[in-house]
Symmetry: C2
Subunit: 124 residues, 2 copies
DNA sequence: GTTGTATATTACTATTTAGTTATGCAACTA
DNA sequence: TAGTTGCATAACTAAATAGTAATATACAAC
């Protein structure tokens, strides 16, 4: 958005965070419970700072939160933004499906109607 | 992903497409039915090429498809990727909530158990 | 055939993103 | 106190993104 600096909202940030496969993998790992940064680094062929960066993105999206245990900074999942994103998706998907349904029945209606003598531009 | 060129998968592309507020607004508009490009440009203070670009992103994500009507290229919503994204979110959200629930009931259980004189690591 | 309308494409710019290596720092451990 | 562990931060680079203005194309209408 070049000039006119746009303030990204919650949904922007959540979806952007979810758009990266590494970050989704981190979330999946966290489904099984808390993890430290080094534990999260292990499964990936990425540097520790790279993972720390991803964690920052996830944290800013509110998708994870951090604790403190000596020099460790355990990461745990926070599900609320996932819930919000789901609500958005579900809402619009359902509206669409309702419309689709309506279109479907409309087409059905038109088809049966065309079986009776059709006026208009009918090539018949 | 710098070198080692990573092929973005469906979920990457879908979430990335949904991360932009303009694109979400376009999808919302399309919930009310098909629209031409110029119709989609109107509500925004963006140039026509900018909207065309957004449409390309949405199309590549499979979230919209295009028709043809003379020089117009009507855009309509396709809901399947929305469904897939919803499935992902719902899946992980539910796992998380299950864990959360389990932790909750576990804590509850521990609390009530501690009211009877239960010996330490007692399996009863 | 000229003009107008709807959209795509091109060429360019600024910003953001995802990665790297190197370094810093806090807290535990011997 | 010296070394080690766990993580963050800094400085940099390459690539992707979101926008622009200008131009091209394709069809319609006169």
């Amino acid at each position: 958005m070049q000039l006119n600096s746009y303030q990204p909202n919650r949904l922007d940030i959540t979806f952007a965070a979810l758009a990266d496969p590494t970050r989704r993998a981190i979330l999946e790992r966290l489904m099984t419970g808390e993890a430290t940064v080094t534990e999260l680094v292990k499964p990936f062929s990425l540097s520790q700072p790279a993972i720390s960066k991803h964690l920052r993105v996830l944290e800013q999206a509110g998708l994870v939160s951090r604790g403190r245990d000596a020099q460790k900074r355990p990461v745990r999942l926070e599900a609320q933004p996932l819930a919000e994103a789901t609500v958005w998706l579900e809402h619009y998907r359902q509206i669409w499906e309702a419309n689709y349904q309506r279109l479907d029945t409309l087409l059905e209606e038109l088809k049966t109607r065309s079986e009776t003598p059709t006026p208009k531009g009918a090539k018949q």
